[in-house]
């Protein structure tokens, strides 16, 4: 049964892997090469400068700030998003009270409506979401502060994106809002494949919602949760954090560098300051951070496979 399997796989994958090597891996190697030069991105001339860019990076205060913020994104965002999504998905699919004559396992009342509500932000482009929230956070006429005024909290008028202590959290909240729906759907699909008789058995044994969740749902969903975690972390390190930071806290990078992230810094160095080589250096650092993040999540998440 095993015989010839690898040859088969290789045969199938040769072409896509070739394309992949050419269009993805090769540019990568090239960018790493550029990180050892003084290329500006605006002229064909450059020379090798060895490790100068790396040395400079280690002395660069803004680089360290952006690294710190990127790590925050990679740790906090998946944690919050996935916990919320797990909770929502559980309530939609499993957490409902048992109703007479209904199925044994069901979601809370109105769960199909909630599903749409949660998923809705997914159909909006992240740029639109960021713009919408930039308006909502407007301290003068934005929705949030107007709401506070409306309920009589006149004294409570935070500056939101204008406050270095709040700005990063404001930006992260938007990402949670916009991505949680995807994971609700992902986890709902995972929960749907858990056999109902497991839940029936648990119910017969008198398990409550919490016990059902921690003893049955979460363990059986572990693989999905783990890949979701990696996926979310990569999003948070890359494109999504760039979009929200660039659009919402355009200082850019927030008051006193409070929201700057690595991708944004790469972009600014390459396309504003004409320092493409230094930008690729930060890009290499970002690559290392991303790889390390995935490795850590995979290692920490390793646990016994559960069969059902």
């Amino acid at each position: 049964m095993q015989h010839g399997k690898y040859r088969f796989i290789v045969g199938f994958l040769a072409l896509p892997l070739g394309l992949y090597a050419l269009f993805v891996v090769w540019p990568f190697i090239q960018s790493i090469y550029y990180s050892f030069t003084d290329w500006t991105g605006l002229s064909p001339e450059f020379k090798m400068v060895g490790l100068d860019n790396y040395r400079r990076m280690l002395d660069d205060e803004i680089f360290w700030k952006s690294l710190q913020h990127s790590l925050m994104f990679a740790v906090v965002l998946p944690l919050v998003t996935i916990s919320l999504a797990l909770f929502f998905a559980f309530m939609i699919n499993v957490g409902g009270r048992r109703r007479k004559g209904g199925p044994v396992i069901s979601g809370v009342r109105g769960s199909s409506f909630y599903k749409i509500v949660y998923f809705f932000p997914q159909v909006l482009s992240i740029a639109i979401v960021a713009l919408l929230f930039a308006f909502a956070y407007n301290p003068d006429s934005g929705a949030i502060n107007s709401f506070f005024r409306g309920i009589g909290l006149d004294g409570l008028q935070p500056l939101w994106l204008g406050d270095p202590d709040l700005a990063l959290w404001c930006v992260m909240a938007v990402l949670v809002w916009s991505t949680v729906g995807f994971f609700v759907v992902l986890f709902s699909a995972g929960m749907a494949s858990i056999p109902a008789d497991l839940y029936e058995a648990a119910l017969l044994d008198g398990a409550g919602r919490a016990a059902t969740f921690f003893r049955i749902t979460l363990p059986l969903l572990w693989d999905t949760v783990q890949s979701g975690w990696v996926y979310m972390g990569i999003l948070a390190l890359g494109a999504e954090s760039f979009a929200v930071v660039q659009i919402m806290t355009t200082g850019p990078g927030g008051p006193d560098y409070s929201t700057t992230v690595m991708v944004l810094y790469v972009y600014q160095k390459a396309f504003r300051d004409g320092q493409a080589a230094y930008a690729t250096t930060i890009g290499v650092a970002l690559l290392i951070v991303t790889l390390a993040f995935a490795a850590v999540v995979m290692r920490l998440g390793r646990r016994e496979r559960l069969e059902y």
């Binding site: 993805v24 960018s31 500006t40 407007n138 301290p139 003068d140 320092q275 995979m298 069969e307 059902y308």
Partner: protein, 487 residues
């Protein structure tokens, strides 16, 4: 888990071969490689270009002082921004008429850098570029890497309207110097002419029974008057606090003299520690301390702050002359927009009231490796004629580098007030260069992390100065950026 599940389990996950878990692991590892930030950079992989196919020079005549090759192709790429592209198209038509055998390629884009960066890297840039907008290419780098042509031949050529006058003599003061970085070559021709200062509604000021304040005590008095009526004195683009210098820098110049601003531009040690800087920072900080700044301003972007100001929530806003066009749809018809040179401290200031920041905008460059540099310059010469300049001013409500050219045009209130402010300023026009010499230092460091933090009340003026001086010292030491000095 349950014993009955083996039959499902074995074909779904397979205890043999590549499991789902491994696949996830592998695909995650591969997915990582597509970290989106890097590969695009190398898309512009560089390759050398040659000078082999430059257009041959044409015949130099009175009508063709730059000796443009009459049949050579000329390519012109324009930034399609707030000023639109009509003015350039009109100028291109004149070029085509003068050189009917030349093939002119004109295009307008907002994506200057993404369109042109690869072409610079390949050594095949167009002949004339309006290098402007959010995707402006860094001029310092372009100059430092010898990518731009010296425009001196253009400046010394006869002007389009009067063969006895050089182009150089038809320009507003300071325009030529702005296009220099160090030494004589002129790399950039700024076509628009921007007046920076304090913008306000004359009507609002009249309703307070006030005139524009000339000293800081008067400024505070006007703000107090406004506050009693529930109007804030000031607002500014809180998310982009680098709009504050539009009135703050000329104020520093007025209080301490031009040399203070020059020292700052030259990144001289302790330039920011000059007493004039401290006095002006203190003055602005007082606006915050006395509650004269519109609430929430540090969280507003430029559009939001301009809108609040146009709605009459605040009296004054530091801005540039583009604000008239940019806010056209929120400024009420009877607003009576006006601009003033910044308020000073008192009568002991070094320069008179009226000292204003005005400088070129819309930078046009001719690449050194362009095939038809003479054609690119000729196109600029056409644009700097009186007729083209008038056409620009009447179409987009902005002045041009051409000195004059406003006769016979009905000026909008803001433009009119800008012209009057320039007349009043006379020789007292200052032009701080931080914003085109050191973009990151000016915008992020001094602007956002220094002035922005101070005006939000999170730094005292003394702390802000110390922080900004630190940033300036860092920039002075940074070998990765090119340094410039006032001549």
């Amino acid at each position: 888990m349950g014993s009955h599940s083996e039959n499902i389990g074995s074909d779904k996950n397979g205890s043999v071969g590549v499991g789902r878990r491994d696949l996830i692991k592998r695909s995650a590892a591969l997915g990582l490689i597509s970290v989106p930030t890097m590969s695009f950079l190398s898309a512009c992989a560089s390759s050398g270009g040659g000078d082999e196919d430059k257009a041959k020079a044409g015949k130099k005549t009175a009508k063709n002082p730059l000796a443009v090759n009459e049949t050579a192709q000329m390519e012109f790429v324009l930034f399609d921004g707030g000023f639109g592209k009509e003015y350039a198209e009109d100028a291109v038509k004149i070029y085509e008429k003068a050189f009917p055998d030349a093939n002119v390629k004109f295009s307008a884009t907002q994506k200057i850098q993404s369109t042109l960066q690869p072409r610079f890297n390949q050594g095949t840039p167009p002949d004339l570029i309006d290098n402007s907008g959010a995707e402006q290419m860094d001029m310092g780098v372009l100059v430092g890497k010898n990518q731009l042509a010296d425009l001196t031949p253009l400046l010394d050529a006869a002007s389009y309207d009067d063969p006895n006058k050089k182009v150089r003599d038809t320009l507003r003061p300071g325009i030529v110097e702005m296009g220099q970085f160090d030494g004589d070559p002129v790399w950039i021709m700024y076509y628009a002419y921007t007046v920076y200062g304090v913008w306000y509604s004359q009507k609002a000021l009249d309703s307070l029974d006030a005139t524009y304040p000339e000293t800081w005590d008067e400024m505070l008095a006007v703000c107090e008057k406004a506050k009693k009526k529930g109007i804030a004195g000031w607002t500014y683009a809180g998310k982009y606090p680098y709009y504050l210098p539009f009135s703050l820098y000329p104020m520093i110049g007025k209080v301490g003299g031009r040399e203070v601003l020059d020292a700052i531009d030259n990144l001289e040690p302790n330039a920011w520690k000059h007493p004039a800087v401290k006095a002006c920072f203190d003055a602005y900080y007082e606006l915050f301390k006395k509650g004269y700044i519109l609430k929430g301003t540090p969280g507003l972007d430029h559009i939001q702050s301009q809108t609040a100001w146009a709605k009459g929530k605040a009296l004054f806003i530091p801005n540039g002359s583009w604000v008239e066009n940019e806010s056209a749809n929120v400024i009420p018809a009877d607003f009576d927009l006006a601009v003033s040179a910044p308020t000073g401290i008192d009568s002991s200031d070094k320069m008179p009231f009226g000292t204003i920041w005005a400088s070129g905008g819309e930078p046009f460059v001719v690449p050194a490796k362009a095939k038809n540099t003479a054609g690119g310059m000729e196109q600029l010469r056409i644009m700097l004629s009186e007729a083209s300049s008038k056409n620009f001013t009447s179409k987009v409500k902005s002045l041009t580098a051409y000195n004059g050219g406003t006769d016979g045009i009905t000026l909008t209130p803001g433009l009119k007030s800008g012209v009057a402010a320039l007349d009043k300023a006379g020789e007292n026009v200052v032009n701080p260069r931080l914003q085109d010499w050191y973009v990151q230092l000016q915008k992020e460091k001094i602007g956002v992390s220094g002035l922005g933090e101070m005006m939000a009340g999170r730094l005292t003026p003394a702390e802000a100065i110390k922080k900004i001086q630190g940033y300036a010292d860092e920039a002075a030491k940074d070998t990765s950026i090119k340094h410039y000095k006032h001549q």
